[in-house]
C-alpha cells in the first residue's frame, strides 16, 4: 500500500504560525488548515491517503481539502510518498568560474601579537618562509589586472586588502586603489574596495583617504578594554585598546557612505557577547558588529568548549530578539550575524559550498601566490597557483569536487545544510586536517542559531513583511 511520510524539513513556530524550512530547497512555507494537521499526523509514522483522510475527518476537513493539501505537500517535498526523493545531482560550477573578489594580503607582518592569530599563533598553517613579507606595488597592480581579466561577465568586482596588518603597507594599498580605479574604468567595470585593520596605525591622512575613496573598513576589536586587551596586545604584552579607541572614534566620525564594522573574535575568556555589542555600538559608534569564534584546535586554552558555545548562543539569541524588536519598528540593529543569516533565509540560499573561497573569491599572498582565500595564502593546503601563471585548474577542480555538499557525508541528514554547507574550510583544516571535512564541533550551534534566525524571520514575515524587502538583493559570494 502506498504511504506518505514526512520529507526533510525543520518545523518552527513564530507569531503563532507554523512554518516549514525545507531541505535542501531552503524554501520557507507557512502551513495552514489540513496541511498543518497532515504534518503533525505524519510525525514518526507513515500513513496511506485513506488513513490520513480517516484520521482528519473528525477535524472537519472534507476529503477534497485533505487531498488538495496532500498534493501541495507532496509537490513541495514536505511529505514524500513511497520512494525517497532523489538527491540533487552533484553539479560542479562551470569552469572557469568568473572571479568576483580578490583578497590581497599586502603583508604577512603584524605589529600586534594576538596569541590566537591564525597567521602567527599556534595553529598557523601558512609557510611563507623565504618569500617576500610585503607585497610590492608591481605584484599588487598585477593582481588587479588578474582580477579584471578573470572576471568576464561581471560588472562589479571587489578588491579587499588584508594582512598581517594591512596598514603596514598602506603605500601599496593607496597606489593599488588608484591603479584599480583607472584599470576598471578602462575595462568598463566597477570596482569597490574594503580593508581590514587592527586600527593601531590609523592616521588622519589614512582616515581621510579611506573616507574619500569609499573604502569599506572592518576593524578587528574584541570589545571593551578588559576583553580586547586579553589577546590583542603588542609584542611586549601591552594592550592595544588605549591606542586604537581614539583612532576608531576619529574614523567613525569621518565616514561618509559605507558602514564601518567591528569584527570580534570570541574565545573561552571572551564570550560576553551582549556587553561587547553594547560597547562597540553604543559607546564606540560602530554601524555593525559581527562575531566569530576563534579558529583553533580544541586543545588551546582559549578554544571555546561546548559550554562556552551554549553561552554564546544564549546571548546571540537575546540580541537577535532585540534585532526583531527593531525590525518590527523598521529600525536597523547592527548585529550582522542576524542580518547575514536573514538575508540567506529570505533568498532561500541553498549552498553547495560554504563560501566563495576557491571559486569566486581567491586570496593572494605578498609574493603573488594564489590561495583558496586570505586564510590559506602561502599554505601548501590551499595553494592554487600564482597570479603570473594563473589558477591551477586541476587543483581547483579537485578542491571543488571534494568540498561539494553532496560529498560531505555527515551533512546529508542535516536540515541546516542549505545555510551551513559544512562550514569554514580553514576551520575544518585546523580541526581535522582536511578542508572538505564538515565542522562537526559546530553542528549543534549552527542548528540552534539557524532555528533562532528562522523564528526571527517568521516573526518579521508575519508582522512586518515590508522590512524583508531590503534583503531582496542577493549578496553574491
Amino acid at each position: 500500500m502506498s504511504t506518505y511520510r514526512q520529507g526533510e524539513f525543520h518545523s518552527f513556530k513564530a507569531a503563532g504560525i507554523d512554518y516549514l524550512y525545507l531541505a535542501p530547497s531552503a524554501a520557507v512555507f507557512a502551513l495552514e488548515g489540513p496541511a498543518r494537521s497532515i504534518i503533525d499526523l505524519l510525525d514518526d509514522r507513515e500513513l496511506s491517503g485513506e488513513e490520513i483522510i480517516r484520521e482528519l475527518a473528525p477535524q472537519g476537513y472534507s476529503v477534497a481539502e485533505i487531498a488538495e493539501a496532500l498534493d501541495e505537500l507532496q509537490q513541495s517535498h514536505a511529505i514524500v510518498r513511497d520512494n525517497p526523493v532523489a538527491p540533487p545531482p552533484l553539479q560542479l560550477p562551470q569552469q572557469p568560474f568568473p572571479l568576483q573578489t580578490l583578497v590581497l594580503n599586502v603583508t604577512n607582518q603584524c605589529n600586534l601579537s594576538c596569541q590566537y592569530c591564525y597567521e602567527y599563533g599556534e595553529d598557523r598553517i601558512a609557510a611563507p618562509e623565504g618569500k617576500t613579507r610585503f607585497m610590492s606595488q608591481e605584484t599588487a597592480h598585477r593582481a588587479v589586472d588578474f582580477l579584471l581579466e578573470q572576471s568576464p561577465g561581471r560588472r562589479v568586482v571587489h578588491l579587499t586588502f588584508f594582512g598581517g596588518e594591512t596598514l603596514l603597507n598602506f603605500k601599496v594599498v593607496k597606489s593599488t586603489i588608484e591603479y584599480a580605479r583607472k584599470r576598471a574604468a578602462e575595462a568598463g567595470k566597477y570596482i569597490d574596495f574594503s580593508l581590514t585593520t587592527n586600527a593601531t596605525l590609523l592616521t588622519s591622512e589614512i582616515i581621510d583617504f579611506l573616507a574619500e575613496n569609499h573604502v569599506g573598513v572592518t576593524i578587528s576589536i574584541d570589545g571593551p578594554k578588559e576583553y580586547n586587551d586579553r589577546f590583542r596586545v603588542f609584542p611586549g604584552g601591552k594592550g592595544s585598546y588605549d591606542v586604537i579607541a581614539p583612532k576608531i572614534k576619529e574614523l567613525l566620525r569621518a565616514r561618509r557612505s559605507r558602514p564601518i564594522g567591528a569584527r570580534v573574535t570570541l574565545t573561552s575568556q571572551v564570550v560576553d557577547v551582549k556587553r561587547i555589542f553594547r560597547h562597540l555600538i553604543e559607546e564606540m559608534g560602530f554601524d555593525e558588529v559581527g562575531f566569530a569564534p576563534v579558529t583553533t584546535s580544541p586543545a588551546r586554552l582559549y578554544a571555546i568548549n561546548s559550554k562556552g558555545l551554549d553561552t554564546v548562543l544564549e546571548q546571540f539569541t537575546e540580541l537577535a530578539d532585540e534585532y526583531l524588536d527593531h525590525a518590527l519598528r523598521d529600525e536597523l540593529f547592527g548585529f550582522s550575524n542576524v542580518s547575514d543569516t536573514l538575508q540567506e533565509i529570505h533568498n532561500g540560499v541553498s549552498k553547495a559550498y560554504p563560501c566563495g573561497a576557491g571559486l569566486g573569491l581567491l586570496g593572494v599572498s605578498p609574493s603573488g601566490d594564489i590561495g583558496l582565500c586570505h586564510r590559506f595564502v602561502d599554505s601548501p593546503a590551499g595553494a592554487l597557483g600564482h597570479i603570473e601563471t594563473g589558477i591551477d585548474r586541476r587543483r581547483q577542480s579537485e578542491f571543488l569536487r571534494r568540498g561539494h555538499i553532496n560529498n560531505k557525508y555527515d551533512c546529508q541528514t542535516c536540515w541546516a545544510r542549505p545555510l551551513c554547507s559544512g562550514g569554514c574550510y580553514h576551520e575544518a583544516y585546523v580541526r581535522y586536517g582536511d578542508t572538505s571535512h564538515a565542522n562537526l564541533h559546530y553542528c549543534d550551534w549552527i542548528r540552534g542559531w539557524s532555528d533562532v534566525c528562522l523564528r526571527i524571520y517568521g516573526e518579521i514575515a508575519a508582522r512586518n513583511p515590508g522590512f524583508l524587502d531590503r534583503f531582496d538583493e542577493r549578496k553574491a559570494i
Binding site: A27, F29, E32, A35, E68, D71, E72, L73, S76, H346
Partner: protein
C-alpha cells in the same frame, strides 16, 4: 497554493515551478501520470511485427514505414544505428520531419 503559503523568495519560486509543472491545484485531482521509460517502436526491446520485413520477406506489408525504424534508432535507441551524426555534423537532419509516420519522406539526404 492554498494550504502552503510561500514566505521566502525560494518558496515563491518553488510555487511557480509547481504550478507550471502540475497546473494549478484542483480538488480531487488525480496524481500526474507517472513518467514511464520510452521504448522506441520497432526496437528489439518490444515485440513489433513490422520489424524490417513483412511476412513475405518484403517491405510492402509492414505496419509502419521502414523509415520509422530508422527514425526511432536516431531519436531514442541506445544501439548505434546507421544514422547521420546528428549531434555535431548534421543537427538539422530531421528538421523538416515533424512526425516520423507522416513526414519521413522529408528526412534529409546526407552526403558525408
Amino acid at each position: 497554493m492554498k494550504y502552503l503559503k510561500a514566505i521566502n523568495r525560494k518558496a515563491r519560486r518553488l510555487e511557480e515551478f509547481i504550478i507550471s509543472e502540475y497546473g494549478d491545484v484542483h480538488a480531487l485531482q488525480q496524481p500526474p501520470p507517472q513518467q514511464r521509460p520510452h521504448y522506441p517502436m520497432g526496437c528489439s526491446l518490444v515485440f513489433s511485427p513490422g520489424w524490417e520485413t513483412d511476412s513475405a520477406g518484403g517491405t510492402a506489408g509492414l505496419c509502419q514505414p521502414v523509415e520509422r525504424d530508422l527514425y526511432d534508432c536516431y531519436i531514442s535507441c541506445f544501439w548505434p544505428a546507421q544514422v547521420p551524426d546528428h549531434l555535431n555534423n548534421y543537427p538539422d537532419w530531421t528538421s523538416k520531419c515533424a512526425s516520423a509516420t507522416k513526414d519521413w519522406r522529408n528526412i534529409d539526404l546526407v552526403f558525408p
